[in-house]
Symmetry: C2
Subunit: 351 residues, 2 copies
């Protein structure tokens, strides 16, 4: 029996409802594979911000540094500006724990039709590998002449050789272990300085992965191709901004962001990695117990995989696919009448 | 009889084939509306670059400054790096002539099925208004420690109050003249400095357009919504990068970038505006006379409209729609067997 210690941050809104679903799946499937989980729960959230003025305590990162993994439900509430809630919790964890890979698998499942005609079940199976700690989303920038006609705002995108190399290396290695096809999102025809640099490093990393067929695609054309013919992609690697856009876009191609999972990985395991479904806190349906738990459950599978339990992870993914294909039980967002607990139970019946 | 002087830059590849189609349409439809066109043709292109070392002469902008409008076919060839061909021709014209609006209408036509299930003919009719001269695509940036492990590349995104105000003003005015719905692409939760500034100015401009219903949407979620439900959009305004991505994405939702038109506008008319179809030079099919001319023809309609001939413009757009709906004549990319000249003729039969 191996035991893992998980830091659980349910967060806001439906984060509170889908986190127990993920936990239930981890416990049930884990037990069958000799894996035991213990949980420490943290109330870091917008609610906490209203009470204490901070999304998490000043020593928050210290409190979870020794855990084997972090599970985060969802963060955000209309009463708190997004940049406060995100820069107060999500972003410090991603950056402080060097979670430089944001991994987002996308699949079209039987029983969950895609809005895109050609995206038939089983035909779309891709992973977006997003650079998660540098690039366009940085802290370098500011404003000048505030309030005057000559006011301006600047934002520095910073790409480092180390940063681009490690994300490219991760993506090529993943492609080596999948179908061997990689697409690098770029815009080297438009943005002058950073994207040709990105292209150069990706091409360098490619030389040590001779079995991967890869190409660079400009982000505008790539976005179009993902709608016109999503079936031909395997691994897509992109900068922080491009990866952000592409992961939501590909999730939509697969039917919506309601079931999409994400992992923020520190591949070197110097720090815990963080697992969070892609969906937000959904204040409009929060508190009614009807949130779709599939994003959280699939995210739990990524957590299992990261901790070395590939078989258990595959079992969870298989259960999601089988349940969607065979069972009418589902939450209202997918056209059913089940609640979160019932849908979770239905999935586990296929595990 | 009014006469307009057009600077014609056919450019590379299929640019040479679709430009005559646009010209044919301008002449034919113009004549009926008492509009006469004269053309000065310029050989600015990658071919010229190979002969002379420059995409256009040093005084290129001077040569076309007095024209009423510029029509550009397509620029680019595999033998010339994109950043050379683009920064040697397209970008200097956009920036030198303060063409700060990049306008890209998108429609789903009967007879040209969309890859997106819900995008039924007549249901998608939107315009992307892209900021075209500042923002993320700037000349400010560079590299440090070239070739060493500590190498980095930086790119400064610069947003000015004047630049954001004028593009927002253009977009809101356009929305006032259409269905009165505007979406502003943002990412104020992620990028710290520039996007909240963008949001603030858009909100300020909105106050003088009380009849427009508008909202800001984060670029990642917006990209997803454009696939999940493209029918609810009217005017979408975005920064240079966001507008670039969204215009290709929306064109794909409408069936591909093959028919998409674009206008680079200097609304103050200090300088000529430039009209260019969205598609590239398509070296793979160039020289065979089978390029789809619809992008160029629709672009000619935008040119007519800009020069004050709204009725003639509407006639061209109507002819495109009617031809697609009623005639089997079309180029191979749309499943037909016609060549460029035949397809152009077929469209004009509906004008
Ligand atoms: C080719 C490139 C520089 C250009 C741009 O990004 O502006 C193109 O993508 C476009 O949209 O016109
Ligand atoms: C909320 C936001 C800061 C975040 C991001 O852009 O990283 C989100 O869009 C995501 O993709 O996880």
């Amino acid at each position: 029996m191996v035991t893992h210690r998980i830091a659980l941050i349910p967060g806001d809104g439906i984060g509170q409802e889908v986190t127990p679903a993920a936990r239930h799946v981890l416990d049930t499937v884990g037990a069958r594979h000799g894996v035991h989980f213990t949980y420490d729960e943290f109330d870091w959230s917008c609610a906490r911000y209203h009470e204490t003025g901070a999304m998490m305590p000043a020593d928050g990162l210290e409190q979870i540094r020794q855990h084997d993994a972090i599970f985060l439900g969802a963060v955000g509430d209309p009463s708190v500006p997004d940049h406060v809630s995100l820069w107060g919790l999500l972003i410090p964890i991603r950056r402080g724990f060097r979670q430089y890979v944001n991994l987002r698998p996308v699949k079209v499942f039987e029983g969950l039709p895609s809005p895109v005609r050609t995206a038939l079940p089983g035909q779309v199976d891709l992973v977006v590998v997003r650079e998660n700690v540098e690039g366009e989303y940085g802290e370098v920038g500011g404003r000048l002449h505030r309030g005057f006609p000559e006011e301006m705002a600047v934002q520095e995108a910073v790409f480092t050789r180390a940063g681009v190399t490690r994300i490219a290396e991760y993506a090529f290695t993943l492609a080596d272990n999948r179908r061997g096809v990689l697409t690098s999102a770029t815009k080297s025809n438009g943005i002058v300085h950073t994207m040709p640099f990105w292209d150069e490093i990706v091409a360098e990393v490619a030389t040590s992965h001779p079995d991967v067929t890869w190409r660079a695609e400009h982000i505008d054309a790539l976005a179009a191709k993902l709608v016109l013919d999503p079936t031909r992609f395997d691994v897509i690697v992109g900068s922080n901004l491009f990866g952000d856009i592409l992961s939501d876009l590909t999730a939509a191609v697969a039917g919506g962001i309601g079931i999409a999972p994400a992992a923020n990985l520190n591949p070197e395991r110097e720090f815990p990695s963080m697992f969070e479904p892609v969906h937000g806190s959904a204040p409009d349906i929060a508190g009614r117990g009807i949130a779709n738990p599939l994003g959280a459950i699939w995210t739990a599978a990524l957590l299992l995989d990261h901790l070395g339990h590939a078989e258990a992870a595959a079992e969870v993914e298989h259960a999601i696919a089988a349940c969607l294909a065979k069972s009418p039980v589902r939450t209202p967002d997918l056209g059913g009448t089940a609640n979160t607990v019932e849908f979770t139970k239905a999935v586990l019946e296929f595990a």
